[in-house]
């Protein structure tokens, strides 16, 4: 066991970890941030996606010790009090979720996509870059609409 410090949603957080502890376990079990989900544990589904040093990663396939000193953003860091983040708001308005299990990972991955592409974002790019996020409910169309809307592109409100 060692004590590990990672900046999560802007605050330095510490927890005791083993070298084999996964980043997602650090977040969920160490810090109680259970918004980040584990869907597959085999790097396929993207439910565990968080942003680490500015890039979307699957936290089930990153060791917590690899994130030592890094800046991590999770779904819990998006809303401003009761005010939803524009992406959360767009997902809600466009019915981009049904059971909601994939949603935290979808939103964190989408945040990265929007931040990298800005106003150049189009539906094809959204679909390509969300390939690592599986949704068993929605059929993806409304997710793509929500992401484009939040990016300020297309889809009337």
């Amino acid at each position: 066991m060692r004590q590990l410090a990672i900046t999560v949603n802007g605050e330095v957080r510490t927890a005791d970890v083993e070298d084999r502890t996964l980043l997602v376990e650090f977040l969920r079990e160490g810090l109680g941030l259970t918004g980040t989900h584990v869907g597959c544990d085999t790097t396929q589904c993207g439910a565990c996606t968080v942003i680490m040093d500015g890039q979307a990663v699957k936290s089930c396939t990153v060791l917590a010790v690899m994130a030592e000193g890094a800046e991590v953003r999770t779904i819990e860091g998006l809303a401003d009090g009761d005010r939803l983040h524009p992406l959360q708001d767009a997902f809600s308005r466009h019915h981009a979720l049904q059971c909601g299990f994939c949603t935290p990972g979808m939103i964190m991955a989408s945040l990265d996509v929007i931040e990298r592409h800005g106003a150049d974002l189009d539906a094809q790019t959204v679909r390509h870059e969300l390939e690592g996020n599986l949704c068993r409910c929605t059929g993806y169309h409304n997710i793509v609409k929500a992401v484009l809307d939040a990016a300020g592109r297309g889809s009337p409100r």
Binding site: T42, V113, G132
Partner: protein, 271 residues
């Protein structure tokens, strides 16, 4: 849960090799996107993990005359988005941008992919077709001497890939047919044309991992046109067959991918 291990973050290449030499059953780790899934399914249980991606010797994408040199720790995403690679070797940049998914591309590295040599991985085809050089902690290995069958390479125990040097061809193209679920290649072909030769490397299909298709190279060397491939076929005996695609289908796909790579030089074509 994975079996326990000790994690190390050495400060230099020399220290990494030193930790490796002294540990019981060590493994290097770069992006961890081949290694950690294997460890999580308990198919590997190293005693020590030695991290490499922060080492200065493994960084950078540079141009050195007629070669592009990519540090082993460069992620797939960083190769895909590097203007230098997009200009000199667009097919390679687009190949990197087609690996796995966005999150995988943010962690996985070119060095890790080449050390792993998965028979369905993308980079091995580019390295072999372009006749690249694998630069390691101790020597330089030409692509023709590097790949040694599925998941096997010429790397010695403890040897670290530091960079890959790609000669810039006149043109190159990459075409692949992906397994729609795993997104790994069912078959893919990288075709590179230089001043005096054509090289064709097939990944995803061969039962011995990546290989050069010499009959196609000869035909394309005489006439660089996909029509020159008419009548050429790969033997199903040398192909992988599994629940996703049988051997004769893979042999057929590899030939189609080669045609498309010839027809679409300068870019990636997804079938």
């Amino acid at each position: 849960m994975m079996y326990g291990f000790s994690f190390h973050r050495p400060k230099s290449l020399a220290e990494a090799a030193d930790v490796f030499a002294r540990a019981d059953d060590p493994t290097y780790v770069s992006g961890g996107h081949s290694l950690l899934p294997t460890m999580k399914s308990r198919l590997a249980a190293p005693s020590d993990l030695i991290a490499l991606t922060h080492l200065p010797e493994l960084q950078g994408i540079t141009r050195d005359g007629d070669r592009v040199i990519i540090g082993a720790a460069q992620t797939h995403a960083s190769v895909a988005s590097a203007a230098l690679v997009q200009d000199a070797l667009p097919a390679l940049a687009q190949l990197a941008g087609s690996i796995g998914d966005m999150q995988v591309r943010h962690r996985g590295t070119i060095g890790g992919s080449l050390a792993n040599n998965d028979p369905a991985a993308d980079y091995p085809s580019a390295v072999l077709a372009l006749g690249a050089t694998i630069v390691t902690s101790t020597r330089e290995i030409h692509a023709d001497d590097y790949f040694d069958g599925m998941f096997a390479t010429a790397l010695e125990l403890g040897e670290i890939i530091t960079a890959i040097a790609f000669p810039i061809p006149k043109s190159a193209g990459y075409a692949k047919m992906r397994n729609p679920a795993s997104r790994y290649a069912l078959a893919a072909s990288f075709v590179a044309k230089t001043e005096d030769a054509v090289r064709v490397a097939i990944t995803g299909a061969g039962s011995d991992g990546v290989f050069r298709w010499s009959a196609a190279e000869k035909a394309l060397g005489a006439s660089f046109d996909s029509a020159a491939l008419a009548g050429l076929a790969l033997s199903a005996d040398d192909m992988l067959g599994d629940m996703h695609a049988d051997a004769s289908y893979r042999a057929h796909l590899a030939a189609i991918c080669t045609q498309r790579a010839v027809d679409n030089q300068g870019r990636l074509t997804l079938l």
